[in-house]
C-alpha cells in the first residue's frame, strides 16, 4: 500500500514534468481508484488512472508513453533535453526604432488631409476597407483611426443571455416582485424587473513587433488601442525577443505619440522573434492573473519564428486551456498561396481556436463577431 502511494506520487510528478496538470486532489482520486480495481490488470489500471487523473485527449498519447515506460518499475529517467538559450538579434535595434519613429511622426493633420482628398467619410471608408495594411502609409493610418474606433464600438453591443435585476425596463421578475409585495401586505406596489445587460468581453493582445511584421504592427496596434477604449479590461503585450506589457503606453494621448512611446519602451523593436519563449513567459507570468474563462486572447504574428516549436505549442496549449478563445491573426493568410507551414505556425495550429487573416480593415471587421462570442 505504502509502496503504491510512493509509486503513484513519482508517476504523477513524471506526468507533471511532461506538462500535464495533475493536482494533489487528482492523486487522491487515483489512489482511491487503484484500491478498487484489479492492479494486476494493466489495461484496467491504465483506464482507471486516466479517468481519475483527468488525462485529456491531447495528453493521452504522452500519458500512454509514460505509463508504458514508468508504471511499476519500467524504464529509467527520461532524457530531458536542455533548453539552449537561443538569442536572435535583429539588425541594429536603435536604427530600426528610429526608422519607425520617423514614419510615425512624419504625419499630416487629419483635417488638412480631409480637405485634400475632399471625399465624404463613407466612400473613404469603403476605399480603406479593402486596402492592405502593408500598402497604407502614415496618413492612411491617421484617417483609419476613427474607423477603427467605430469598429471597436461594435464589440460592446452584445447582450448577455443571463437576466440581471434592473431598475429600468425589462421582463417582470415574479420571484422578487412577490418577495416585495409581502412587505406591503400582499399588495403589488412595484414590479421587479430583469433585463439582459450589455456584456463586454475581456481581451488580451499579444502583438509581434518583429521586423517581418513591421508593416502590419502599426495598424494592429492601432486596432488594439481602439479596442482598449471600448473594452476596459483589455491588456496589450508586445513581443519580439522579449515580452513587454504595453497597455499603459498605448492607453493615453494621440496615436502617433503613443506609438512613438512604444518604440522607445519595447526593447529590440523590429528585431528578430522568439515567439515560443515570449508566449511561454506570458503563460508563466501573466496567465493566471489576466486570463480567465471570459477572456479572448489574440496573438498577432506571422509565425515566422526561429525558436523551438515545442515551446510555442506548450505555451499555446496552456493559454488555450485557460482562455475563452485563442485567436491567431496572421497577415500572411491573405495570400491564397500561403500555407501555415512555417515551423512555429504549424506547431501552433493544433492549439488555436481560430486562425484569421488581418491584412485590411474588412478582415478586422469580420473578427469582431469572434471577439464577442
Amino acid at each position: 500500500m505504502n509502496d503504491l502511494v510512493v509509486h503513484l506520487a513519482r508517476f504523477a510528478s513524471d506526468l507533471r514534468a511532461a506538462g500535464m496538470r495533475v493536482a494533489i486532489g487528482d492523486e487522491v482520486d487515483a489512489l482511491e481508484a487503484l484500491l478498487r480495481v484489479d492492479i494486476s490488470d494493466r489495461a484496467e489500471v491504465r483506464w482507471a488512472l486516466g479517468c481519475a487523473l483527468k488525462i485529456r485527449r491531447q495528453d493521452a498519447d504522452a500519458f500512454d508513453a509514460l505509463f508504458a515506460q514508468k508504471w511499476l518499475g519500467r524504464g529509467g529517467d527520461p532524457k530531458t533535453p536542455a533548453q539552449p538559450p537561443s538569442a536572435t538579434h535583429g539588425p541594429g535595434r536603435a536604427g530600426r526604432a528610429l526608422a519607425f519613429l520617423s514614419a510615425a511622426t512624419a504625419s499630416v493633420e487629419p483635417a488638412a488631409q480631409e480637405a485634400e482628398t475632399g471625399q465624404p467619410g463613407s466612400s473613404r471608408e469603403a476605399l480603406f476597407r479593402k486596402k492592405p495594411f502593408d500598402r497604407c502609409d502614415q496618413r492612411d493610418l491617421l484617417a483609419m483611426e476613427p474607423l477603427l474606433f467605430r469598429l471597436a464600438q461594435k464589440l460592446a453591443t452584445r447582450r448577455s443571455r443571463r437576466l440581471k435585476p434592473t431598475r429600468g425596463p425589462g421582463r417582470t421578475d415574479l420571484r422578487r416582485s412577490l418577495r416585495r409585495c409581502l412587505a406591503t401586505g400582499g399588495e403589488l406596489v412595484m414590479l421587479a424587473r430583469r433585463a439582459r445587460p450589455i456584456e463586454t468581453p475581456k481581451l488580451v493582445f499579444l502583438c509581434d513587433t518583429s521586423g517581418s511584421m513591421e508593416m502590419h504592427t502599426r495598424f494592429l496596434l492601432a486596432f488594439a488601442r481602439a479596442l482598449l477604449r471600448v473594452a476596459k479590461g483589455t491588456e496589450v503585450f508586445a513581443f519580439n525577443t522579449e515580452l513587454t506589457r504595453i497597455t499603459a503606453h498605448l492607453a493615453a494621448g494621440e496615436q502617433e505619440q503613443a506609438l512613438a512611446r512604444l518604440a522607445r519602451a519595447v526593447p529590440d523593436w523590429s528585431g528578430g522573434t522568439r515567439i515560443g519563449e515570449c508566449l511561454a513567459a506570458f503563460a508563466s507570468r501573466h496567465l493566471r492573473e489576466l486570463v480567465d474563462g471570459r477572456t479572448v486572447v489574440i496573438v498577432l504574428s506571422d509565425g515566422l519564428d526561429r525558436g523551438d516549436p515545442e515551446l510555442l505549442a506548450g505555451a499555446l496549449r496552456h493559454i488555450q486551456a485557460r482562455a475563452r478563445r485563442l485567436i491567431w491573426l496572421n497577415p500572411l493568410l491573405s495570400d491564397p498561396r500561403y500555407e501555415p507551414t512555417a515551423r512555429g505556425m504549424a506547431a501552433a495550429l493544433a492549439f488555436v481556436d481560430r486562425l484569421a487573416p488581418a491584412h485590411d480593415l474588412a478582415s478586422l471587421e469580420r473578427l469582431i463577431s469572434d471577439l464577442t462570442v
Binding site: R36, W47, K54, L174, L182, G186
Partner: protein
C-alpha cells in the same frame, strides 16, 4: 479484470450499449467513489447514451438537464409556483392572517416546482442518474453553481433552508469540447474521453443497434464510415450517424453497399453542405471500393 467491472460491461452490453473496458471502468469508479463523471468527445460518439444506459442498468430514473447559454437556477433547480402563491396570498388576506403566517403558508414545499437538479436530490427511492448534457453550452456562472451542488449535494433555498440529497445521485456530465470546462469543475469529477470507435467495435455497435443489418452490411458500413472519418471533413460522422445510415439502408432492403445506395442516402451520414459538395462521385467510389475490398 475486476468482477464488478466485468458485470457492468455485460449489463451495458445486454442493454444494447457496446462499451469497452475504459468506459466500464470509468462508470464503475464514478459509482463506487460517488463522484460525477465528466465525459468528453466528438459529437455522436455516445456520450449521452452512457447516462441513459447507466439508468437502465441500475433500473432507476434518468433525470436529464439539457444545458444552454443563459440557463439559470429557475430552470435548473427550482421555481416557486407564483400563480398559486398569489391566490393563496389573497385567501390569506380574507382570513386575516398575519404577515408571518402568510409567509409560512406561501413558502411551503407544496408551492415549490422542482426542476431537474432538485428532483435528483429529493428522489426518495434510491439514487437517480442525473445527466447534465452539454455542459459546455452553459456559461461559467452556471458552472460555478454546479460546482457547489456537486460537491455537497445540498442546496439552500432561502425560504426553506438547506435541502440535502437523500441519496447521492449518479452524475454524468457531457461536453462536446466547444468550450474548455473550468479546472475546478473538472477536478471535482472523474474524467472520460470517448474517441470514435475502432472498426471492430463499430461493427458490434451496428449489429447491436440495427438488428436488421446483416454481417456483410455492418462490416461494409463500418469500413466506409471509418474511411470517411479519415477524410478532411468539416463534420465527421459519429456512431449516431452510422446507426442512422444502417437503419436507412436496412429500410431500403439493402444487404450490401453500392454506389447508387450510397449516393441516395449520403445525407444520413454527411450533414454539412460543404462536405456534401466536396465529396465527389469518384471519391465515393474509391471509398466504397476500399470498404468492400478487405
Amino acid at each position: 479484470m475486476t468482477p464488478e467491472i466485468r458485470q457492468l460491461l455485460d449489463a451495458m452490453g445486454s442493454e444494447g450499449y457496446v462499451a469497452d473496458a475504459a468506459i466500464a471502468t470509468a462508470v464503475f469508479l464514478a459509482e463506487d467513489l460517488g463522484k460525477p463523471l465528466l465525459v468528453e468527445g466528438e459529437a455522436g460518439v455516445g456520450k449521452t447514451e452512457i447516462g441513459k444506459v447507466w439508468a437502465r442498468v441500475r433500473a432507476t430514473e434518468l433525470i436529464r438537464l439539457q444545458c444552454y447559454e443563459g440557463l439559470d437556477v429557475a430552470t435548473a433547480l427550482y421555481e416557486w409556483n407564483y400563480p398559486r402563491q398569489m391566490l393563496r396570498v389573497r385567501m390569506a388576506e380574507q382570513e386575516g392572517q398575519t404577515a408571518d403566517e402568510m409567509e409560512k403558508t406561501v413558502f411551503d414545499r407544496s408551492y415549490l416546482l422542482e426542476r431537474p437538479l432538485l428532483r435528483a436530490l429529493t428522489r426518495t427511492q434510491g439514487p437517480a442518474v442525473l445527466l447534465i448534457d452539454e455542459i459546455d453550452r452553459a456559461d461559467e456562472g452556471f458552472e460555478a453553481f454546479l460546482l457547489e451542488l456537486l460537491s455537497d449535494f445540498q442546496v439552500t433555498i432561502p425560504e426553506l433552508g438547506p435541502i440535502r440529497a437523500q441519496h447521492v445521485p449518479h452524475v454524468v456530465l457531457t461536453s462536446n469540447c466547444t468550450r474548455e470546462i473550468g479546472d475546478a469543475l473538472r477536478r471535482r469529477c472523474l474524467y472520460l474521453y470517448i474517441d470514435h470507435p475502432s472498426l471492430d467495435k463499430e461493427v458490434r455497435i451496428l449489429r447491436a443497434r440495427v438488428p436488421g443489418a446483416g454481417e456483410r452490411l455492418a462490416h461494409e458500413i463500418a469500413r466506409f464510415v471509418q474511411a470517411l472519418r479519415r477524410q478532411d471533413l468539416v463534420r465527421s460522422p459519429g456512431v449516431a450517424e452510422s446507426i442512422d445510415w444502417a437503419q436507412a439502408l436496412v429500410r431500403l432492403h439493402r444487404d450490401h453497399l453500392d454506389l447508387e445506395a450510397v449516393e441516395a442516402t449520403l445525407g444520413c451520414l454527411v450533414k454539412d453542405r460543404r462536405d456534401l459538395a466536396a465529396l465527389e462521385r469518384d471519391q465515393l467510389a474509391r471509398l466504397l471500393e476500399g470498404a468492400k475490398a478487405s
